[in-house]
């Protein structure tokens, strides 16, 4: 597979360049090569050849990133496990993905009950970056996202999917070279992290991460200013946090500023463009199922940007993706008509991990330009204009995006109901005063102390899914269809 060979070549070519900066400590590509080689030896010793999925504790250090490349060079896939996520959730993921071995760089092993390779303790003087042969159908990673029934669903991505993405990404000509300094602001459980480390590593650039105990937005600003970052991919919620301080930000070194994961409002983008006067700004879009992102729109500094409700268009499909917009019967709708955005192409996952039921629901085959083509329903409501640009109108279902994380509101309701013994609950995504999305929970009940409820939720849900506000109401309002009127409940918040 060329992708892994590209990584090998780039590391070998850039030995004296900095590969990473963690908390102001630099590591060269040679350091990185050594860490990879040492972890490979342990993998060969301890993990069977036919065992593909390996757990990875997502710490912020050289060993964790080296583990990813080491696994790939051994033809294995990584399944990220966030050490701060509730144990139940991680255990569910471990079981679902048939994980036997876990790579962990922590001082104290996170999962004492599983076979663990402590990657910090791996050592070798020999560098070996020659990958074992892998094919396009071999898995590179599985990311688990929020599922409606309370169980996370796994999205397996192959090296073929990932190569298709990288190929389409370079085609955008948001160029990275061996002198660039690139931001990696994402948790490794979020697939936007993949492009944030992989693209720089393939070009010999330096990756700047955010230490776990820092406030992200202000730390990003310091990195931008102190290290003159040249390339960033961020979620728009970072901009909402930074907005009150835009006047203090002047970063002429920035070349490319990409946004993904949430709706990007035009007005904030315009203001942001003045903080980074020389940068190209782009809005990219895509679900984990179609490998990181798959549509792109370059913001125009001189105006004439396309928007819907003040939200910037998500643009056109990238090189290796085909998009169509369909009605409820999977028929393509005309120009300007609303419908569900569907994706196809080599970036598309083969389907959810061991979840045939869900696969039947969201994947379908359709005759497209004379060929039987497999499409994925994104759940996003879109319309296409006469120039082929797609306008994002909103979600069809009850999914929300919290700081870029996909959240099924029903998963929160599921766990809240389980904790509350038959009380009726509704989870709401609302927009707060700085235009970021928060989760609210409405309980059909008299007021009571919710500390225990929150404690229970924290045992099963990651922090970003925990409601930030709880309201009580005697009985839920109903809409004309007799369903709970979520819009009315939404007004209780914000």
């Amino acid at each position: 597979m060329n992708l892994i060979l590209d990584i090998q070549r780039s590391i070998e070519k850039n030995y004296n360049n900095n590969a990473f900066c963690f908390s102001n400590t630099y590591y060269t590509y040679r350091d990185f090569a050594q860490a990879i080689s040492a972890i490979r030896i342990k993998i060969q010793e301890q993990i069977k050849k036919d065992e593909i999925n390996v757990g990875l504790i997502t710490n912020d250090d050289i060993y964790t990133y080296a583990s990813i490349i080491a696994l790939w060079m051994e033809g294995k896939a990584y399944v990220p496990l966030h050490p701060k996520f509730p144990k139940d959730r991680n255990t569910t993921v471990i079981k679902q993905a048939d994980i036997i071995n876990i790579l962990d760089s922590s001082d104290d092993q996170v999962f004492s009950k599983y076979h663990t390779i402590l990657t910090k303790e791996c050592n070798t003087s020999q560098i070996n970056l020659v990958p074992v042969p892998v094919t396009k159908d071999d898995l590179g990673y599985i990311f688990f996202t929020s599922g409606t029934t309370g169980t996370p669903k796994g999205v397996p991505i192959t090296f073929g999917n990932l190569s298709g993405f990288m190929d389409a990404f370079w085609e955008l000509e948001y160029t990275i070279t061996d002198t660039d300094r690139c931001l990696q602001m994402f948790e490794l459980t979020f697939d936007l992290s993949v492009v944030s480390y992989l693209a720089p590593l393939i070009k010999g650039a330096c990756v700047y991460t955010i230490p776990k105990d820092e406030i992200k937005y202000s730390y990003i600003f310091e990195l931008m200013e102190d290290h003159a970052l040249t390339f960033t991919l961020m979620v728009p919620s970072i901009l909402h946090y930074l907005r009150p301080y835009f006047e203090e930000i002047d970063c002429p070194a920035m070349k490319y500023s990409l946004f993904c994961g949430e709706a990007l409002p035009l007005d904030v983008t315009e203001e942001w463009s003045k903080c980074i006067p020389n940068a190209t700004i782009a809005n990219v879009y895509g679900p984990t199922e179609c490998t990181i992102f798959c549509t792109d729109y370059t913001y125009k500094r001189n105006g004439g940007n396309k928007t819907y409700n003040g939200i910037l268009t998500i643009g056109k499909d990238m090189k290796n993706t085909t998009t169509i917009i369909v009605d409820d019967d999977n028929n393509q709708v005309g120009e300007g008509e609303n419908g569900e955005l569907c994706l196809s192409g080599i970036q598309l996952t083969s389907g959810y991990w061991k979840n045939e039921e869900k696969n039947k629901e969201v994947f379908f085959t359709k005759e497209y330009q004379g060929e039987k083509t497999r499409f994925y329903r994104t759940g996003d409501l879109c319309a296409i204009d006469n120039e082929g640009d797609m306008l994002y109108l909103g979600r069809i279902d009850f999914q929300a995006k919290i700081q870029g994380f996909r959240v099924e509101l029903s998963e929160i309701e599921f766990h809240a109901k389980a904790a509350l013994d038959k009380l009726n609950v509704v989870a709401i995504a609302f927009t707060n005063s700085i235009q970021n999305t928060e989760i609210g929970l409405v309980l059909e009940s008299k007021k009571f102390e919710t500390k225990q409820l929150l404690e229970d939720l924290k045992k099963t849900l990651p922090q970003y899914m925990i409601p930030t506000q709880i309201k009580f109401i005697d009985s839920f309002p109903l809409n004309t269809n007799g369903k709970t009127d979520r819009k009315k409940l939404n007004k209780l918040f914000g």
Binding site: K216, Y219, F221, E222, Y241, Y245, E438, T468
Partner: protein, 79 residues
């Protein structure tokens, strides 16, 4: 302003945003020690503190606010 006065004002801000008083004000207190003090509420707490003391933090100040002690000293330099 006396350190104690500053601290009690901050304490009141925390209670009003986080809706609990399940913390003890000492210099080593960090966001991690306080339930609900995450990046989201941090923003609200910062804004409220700015209002209470009629001050304005610089973006660069925010990274210095590692614990209660440093928060108090940054506030002291501004009032």
């Amino acid at each position: 302003m006396e350190v104690d006065v500053i601290k009690s004002k901050i304490s009141a801000v925390l209670v009003s945003i986080l809706e609990h008083d399940n913390f003890e004000m000492h210099d080593e207190l960090t966001a991690k020690d306080v339930d609900g003090w995450d990046s989201l509420s941090h923003m609200m707490i910062i804004t409220k503190i700015e209002e209470e003391f009629s001050i304005r933090f610089k973006l660069r100040d925010l990274n210095k606010l590692k614990n209660m002690g440093s928060l108090v000293s940054v506030i002291q330099t501004k009032i």
